[in-house]
């Protein structure tokens, strides 16, 4: 290596002074921790819980847990795309609630309206978010905080200031969509898995997915390389809104009614799940599968807290908060070390 002939092409410039070769091992480990850390924790928690509680590892409990997790997971899927672009969507909780109320209201006209009406409304809010973030370059958190308020206002407006709870008619196919199942597993679980499969394909294997990563990784460079930054941003917020609305509708079908108080603080759970799943909150790096693992982890912990019984369910929020701090601190240290190394 030291005395190759000095024809330029033969000179290996790949290892510049800034990246000593020894760093690659640590790099690989931290990348692995980033990607699969949550999965390891999930498996450990599931193992310990199964050994400690007889009622945990039963088909009934697991299916209930999975169906329960499905709604949050669908919301987290959209959030994953948004966060990878370096943004955040705080409106999903309100949009979820709005979707639920609209679905329950529209279900009196049939299953199709029960799905289309909430998804359309949620899509409109997502589109508004996307337009504001992409075109006027306002900070995503403040735009989506405002639309969280706006969506909540809308939800109150359609539910008689929160006093009216619409019920989904008994025997409607809409109910079956969320309450039914196949092979002992609820339809929402299949739906969620399908959506995540599509989402993963979209993110990893299409040009759009690449532009999502590029926008989050270096927006200016992405623009210079021909990525349509504004359109990419608009699309992810639109997706996030659509998915949140759909999840809300599905949830209404599951509960049989449009409950107005649901969805509160759901955006926080979704963000926590996405970040725990290995997506960088600063954008540019992330995995759809990780978000699914993050959601499951949060839901299993919630299940454990319920199983213990003596603990209030608020512990789950404390645990997510602590998890989030731990993950973010770890990410910051890892990415800092990598920058120097």
């Amino acid at each position: 290596m030291a005395r190759t002939p000095v024809t330029a092409a033969a000179v290996d410039v790949s290892r510049g002074g800034a990246a000593p070769a020894g760093a690659s091992g640590a790099e690989r480990i931290s990348a692995l921790a980033q990607r699969h850390g949550a999965l390891v924790v999930l498996v450990a928690v599931v193992l310990v819980t199964s050994l400690s509680f007889d009622t945990f590892f039963t088909g009934y409990n697991l299916n209930r847990l999975a169906v329960n997790a499905a709604f949050l997971a669908i919301v987290a899927l959209g959030m994953t795309f948004v966060i990878i672009t370096g943004g955040i969507d705080l409106s999903v909780g309100s949009v979820f609630a709005l979707g639920g109320v609209l679905a329950a209201w529209a279900s009196q006209y049939g299953t199709l309206p029960a799905l289309l009406v909430p998804v359309a409304a949620a899509g409109a809010i997502g589109l508004a978010n996307g337009l504001l973030v992409a075109r006027t370059r306002l900070a995503p958190f403040i735009v989506t905080l405002a639309s969280m308020l706006g969506a909540r206002g809308l939800m109150l407006a359609v539910s008689g200031e929160g006093n009216e709870t619409y019920l989904v008619p008994q025997g409607s196919a809409f109910l079956e969509l969320a309450q039914g199942g196949l092979f002992g597993i609820g339809y929402p679980v299949y739906l969620t898995l399908a959506l995540f499969g599509l989402g993963g394909l979209l993110l990893r294997r299409t040009g759009f997915g690449q532009s999502v990563y590029a926008v989050g990784g270096n927006e200016d460079a992405a623009a210079l390389m021909g990525v349509r930054v504004a359109r990419t941003k608009l699309t992810v917020y639109l997706m996030s809104g659509l998915l949140a609305g759909f999840a809300g509708a599905l949830n209404a079908a599951y509960l049989g009614s449009g409950v107005t108080i649901l969805g509160f603080a759901m955006e926080l759970d979704a963000i926590a799940a996405v970040v725990i799943g290995g997506t960088l909150l600063t954008g540019g790096l992330g995995y759809v599968s990780g978000s699914l693992v993050g959601v499951l982890l949060l839901k299993v912990i919630q299940n454990v807290i319920n199983l213990i019984g003596s603990l209030s369910s608020s512990y789950q929020q404390v645990v997510s908060g602590l998890f989030l701090i731990a993950v973010v601190v770890a990410q910051t240290y890892l990415s800092r070390r990598r920058r120097i190394g």
Binding site: A157, V318, I325, V328
Partner: protein, 320 residues
């Protein structure tokens, strides 16, 4: 919203935007007052004034801390959760007397600020992320400490919430005093200057020997304590600790008040007078809609629109 007349004249757009950013909030307050004087019966009364002043205090006090945090280029999303924690602390420690309870609540606010500040200053976590985690965990912690609403009968604490001095409610006096203190800190102390410098250029500030970490931590502690004060006052006024609902959406209201008041989210600037006016504007907007029996949903949608408009006007002029 208050300047439709101006828009028709169509002066240079950037000049108009800058004017809106710097003075729009005062024009907005004036316009809302005029509208109410014209349309709302009994608006021009001492009682109305007093009620509005009392209602604006929590937002105002939280916004003071938020303004300083935003001055450093940061943000604090945990303020609402801190208010809830303060409420829980009051309920838990009221047995030791009201003073101990209030001190415990303020201490909790300071600790939360210390954690947020340390995450930002030492670990280098983005402020929005650090305080988001505290927002999630803090609300849960408040509910873990105190699972449901707890009414109390402590006379001193209730007096703090509803008592008056020369016809002015205590809570208003406290808010005014805190405003003056923050103005003084920002304008006259080295700490205040350092806040602005760090917000304006953190790297330059570090090289100029400024104690960047200490200032950042100080800023988040200040915001935490002010949020706790707001939590204590709101709890005293309610006569009950409500960890579930207290401070809900407070982060949004406080940020809005600061931004409407002409402080850009990019840091390097703190406008306390504008922030006070911003808080008053948001309060008047809500009050106006409520006094005219418009439903809550309208209030929320209207606030959302005002917030977006305010941020749009306040944003630093882009690349054009």
């Amino acid at each position: 919203m208050a300047d439709l007349a101006l828009a028709r004249v169509r002066p240079d757009r950037t000049v108009l935007l800058r004017w809106l950013r710097d003075y729009g909030v005062y024009a907005g307050v004036a316009a809302l007052v005029l509208v109410n004087l014209a349309l709302t019966p009994n608006f021009a009364s001492l009682d109305t004034l007093r009620v509005q002043a009392v209602q604006v205090t929590p937002i105002l006090i939280v916004a003071l801390g938020m303004a300083v945090v935003i001055g450093t280029g940061g943000i604090d999303l945990s303020v609402g959760a801190v208010m809830a924690v303060a409420a829980s602390m009051i309920s838990l420690y009221l047995g030791y007397g009201p003073v101990a309870a209030v001190l415990a609540a303020l201490l909790a606010g300071a600790v939360s600020g210390l954690v947020a500040g340390s995450l930002v200053a030492f670990v280098g976590v983005q402020p929005i992320v650090a305080t988001l985690a505290l927002m999630i965990g803090g609300r849960g912690l408040a509910e873990v400490m105190l699972p449901q609403l707890d009414t109390f009968r402590n006379p001193e604490l209730r007096a703090l919430g509803s008592g008056m001095f020369l016809g002015v409610p205590y809570v208003v006096l406290i808010a005014v005093a805190l405003t003056l203190v923050v103005v003084f800190v920002v304008r006259r102390t080295t700490f205040g200057r350092q806040v602005l410098a760090i917000g304006g250029n953190p790297a330059a500030s570090a090289l100029a020997g400024l104690p960047v970490r200490r200032v950042l931590i100080g800023v988040y502690v200040l915001a935490g304590v002010l949020a706790a004060v707001a939590g204590v006052l709101a709890t005293a006024r309610l006569g009950a600790s409500d960890p579930t609902r207290l401070g809900e959406l407070m982060e949004l209201n406080a940020i809005t008040a600061v931004v409407i008041g002409g402080t850009a989210l990019t840091g390097g600037r703190v406008r306390i007078a504008g922030t006070v006016a911003g808080a008053v504007l948001m309060q008047l907007l809500t009050a106006t809609l409520i006094m005219h029996n418009l439903p809550q949903s309208w209030t929320q949608i209207a606030s959302a629109v005002v917030i977006v408009l305010a941020v749009w006007v306040a944003r630093e002029r882009g690349r054009n």
